[in-house]
Point group: C2
Chain length 111, copies 2
DNA sequence: ATACAATATTAGAATTATCTAACAAAAAAC
DNA sequence: GTTTTTTGTTAGATAATTCTAATATTGTAT
């Protein structure tokens, strides 16, 4: 049995149990990140707002494909858009996602 | 165009470009995490080693289903196993994954 | 208005993921 | 040895994902 009923105050880090709702929400968001093209888009974006055509250039696949991946991340509330003239700029919606990307860099890119 | 050719020393955080290999590796790992049951298993594990039957109890699905999800994470080098008698204990392989899980907790569970 | 540029959407084929149910393997207990 | 416990594997049906190609939409410019 897992003993998570009450905090173990002095012996080791206490890991809080996580609700199934939180789990489901996190898994949905993670799934939206876990595709090579989408991850690359996020790395290119960082904390900037970049137009679709510039993303297409930087990533290197078809405009339609990029547009679909952007839509997935916008639907999952990872990205937001801002229109300027006839261009649409995408940017990462919240600080949490940026932190996550930062940690993933450290975990996966330091070898 | 994205200007990542050289570090912008004083104006804002410089975001390093990421190789496609790193991207692919990260995406594969992330995909292994981005399923509700697998995420729940990881949250239950934390930094402990837990037997399959205890994981089955804690998660609440069939033993076969758990075994398949554990195999996926073992194949992707997220989990490792240790046999004791006729029980098999699973645990998170490296510190990086634990950090990632910690940050995900903060990002997705603080609401 | 037409033409052009940038972005979004749809359809459909191919691939991949996921589950259940049944069965196999390994180690312990008897 | 057999039986039981624990874990792993396979088969196959169903569902979800991903890509390409074609088309639609939206705003700008002329």
């Amino acid at each position: 049995m897992i003993t998570v009923d009450k905090p173990a105050l002095e012996d080791g880090p206490y890991i809080l149990p996580v609700s199934d709702d939180d789990i489901d929400r996190a898994a949905r968001s993670l799934k939206a990140l876990s595709h090579p093209l989408r991850l690359k888009i996020l790395c290119i974006l960082g904390d900037q707002a970049i137009s679709v055509q510039d993303i297409v250039e930087a990533v290197g696949t078809s405009q339609s494909n990029i547009s679909q991946h952007l839509a997935i991340m916008r639907d999952k509330e990872i990205l937001m858009t801002e229109r300027k003239a006839n261009k649409v700029f995408y940017y990462v919606r919240d600080e949490g996602t940026l932190r996550l990307i930062g940690v993933m860099r450290e975990v996966f890119c330091t070898k």
